[in-house]
Amino acid sequence: MQIKTDRDARLGYWLILPTVIAISGLIFYPIFYNLWLSLQEVNMNPVQPNTFVGLKHFADVLTDGDFWGSFKTSLIFTSTTVVGTTLLGLGTALLLNRDFPGRSIIRGVILLPYVTPVISAVFGWKYLFDPVFGMANYFMVDVLHFLPQHINWIESPAYAIYAVIIFNVWKNFPFAFLMILAELQSISANLYEAAEVDGASTWQQFKHITLPQLKFVIGALVILRTIWNFYKFSEVYLLSSSVNVLPVYIYEQAFANYNFGQAAAISAILFVFVLGFIMFYVRKVLEW
């Protein structure tokens, strides 16, 4: 095989070349281009030249109350949905980690929210959340009396965030469920049998056997979901455009107000924030 090594190496480069070109051209270059744009007053007509304005957009953004409001919404949305998807995924995985008839069908059914196109799922939920005849109001107000009157779940900024959070948890917990279930199934039954012989309660077994085994997968799920949900656009915007998370704010600055420079600056800030979170999380929480 030795003689072939040089030829293999050359072939290796050729085969990876399309990938390298595509990813550098359409991911890495745009990221740097975005930084450059954030220093410009970008002309609405892309053929016309831009004007260099230095750090003006960053100064504007960081002193803008709207930005900080949007930042806060993003923090609330991301933290609640990360906790929600992980806990519901964990609970579902623990519930289904046993043998019962129809188990594989039920597992497939639970994955449906995750694979259904966002646009279809959104319309289903919009119907449920309809202020006049929606199921959500009917149950919360008329049946359970949790709330005094019908709420406009989709359009009122105060309540739409709840609708968006519920929708996101519904859509994404199956991913956590599947990853955790796979990990649960890899735990040897001997461990539980031994614990039972030693007289450990179900809770003690969970705490001392199950949880330590799940630490890694849960850690990975939390960081992935945090990154994904900080960047989440369609699942928020299509359900309710009045929940102004940062991606929605960027989108509207760029494509409704045509303030591309400012949108680029917000993107850069969002990225730095997410990067900072990743580094903090990996070092302090996961202790890698």
């Binding site: 595509a22 796979a182 969002l270």
Partner: protein
Amino acid sequence: MVKQNTILKNIVFVLLLVLLLGFVLLPFITMLSSSFKPDTEQAVFPPTVLPENPTLEHYKGVLNPEIFPFLMYFKNSLIVAFLSAGIGIVISIFGSYSFARLEYTGRAAIQRGVLLVYMFGGVLLVVPLFQMITKLGLFDTRTSLIITYIVQTLPVSLYMLGNYFRTIPKSIEEAAIIDGCSRLEVIYRIVIPLSAPAIVSVFIYAFMIAWNEYLFASVFINSSSLRTLPIGLNQLFYTQHYIWGRMMAASVLTAIPVIILFLSIERFITSGLTFGGVKE
């Protein structure tokens, strides 16, 4: 005593399972049932679960090009998703073979570079990509979406296929090389046929991502004749076609191909070998 305990446990289990399935399925049930409800039954209070007089009028409306261009949007989505998944799979077969089996300096660095992509969401790219697409004269073309989707799905495809290729015994490939096959022949005579299930799954995964994508499609496309389903349906919601039954029928018809495709590869996707590489 012990027996009573088990019965209680089973009751709790079934109860929780019913609650969970209710939460998961409620939107689907609503969607399906209102797509068959006549207009008069849509806004009834209290809400009804099943249609009293089921009708197919909404499906007929959606599928009638004179009322709503659903079929055109469907075709556009199909073209974009098929081409981006198809081109993407070719690039990633070559790329992941290169990662899995060929040794060269810089391979590890390139692999890490591909992994880095996980840190960039679409929303960070939409502003610069829009500027680039416009400058390249690709605004309002299918090409703009196809190239964007290829790149968005590449890292996952490379990861999944690379994992699969590594499970093929090296000895089979070496035997073929000794018999006089070139590396490229090994790829298309041995690796591709042996990895057919993985390749089909990765193709379907990429197809689904392209089929569902909203952000780039809403920005790169202007002409109504090029719109994909998510854009078309979202606009339907804000026009005079805003009829619940029709919206729901359109949603069902948009979801069905994806759900069928997913069910066909569920076993492979959920085997863990692949799901670990998913990116949103």
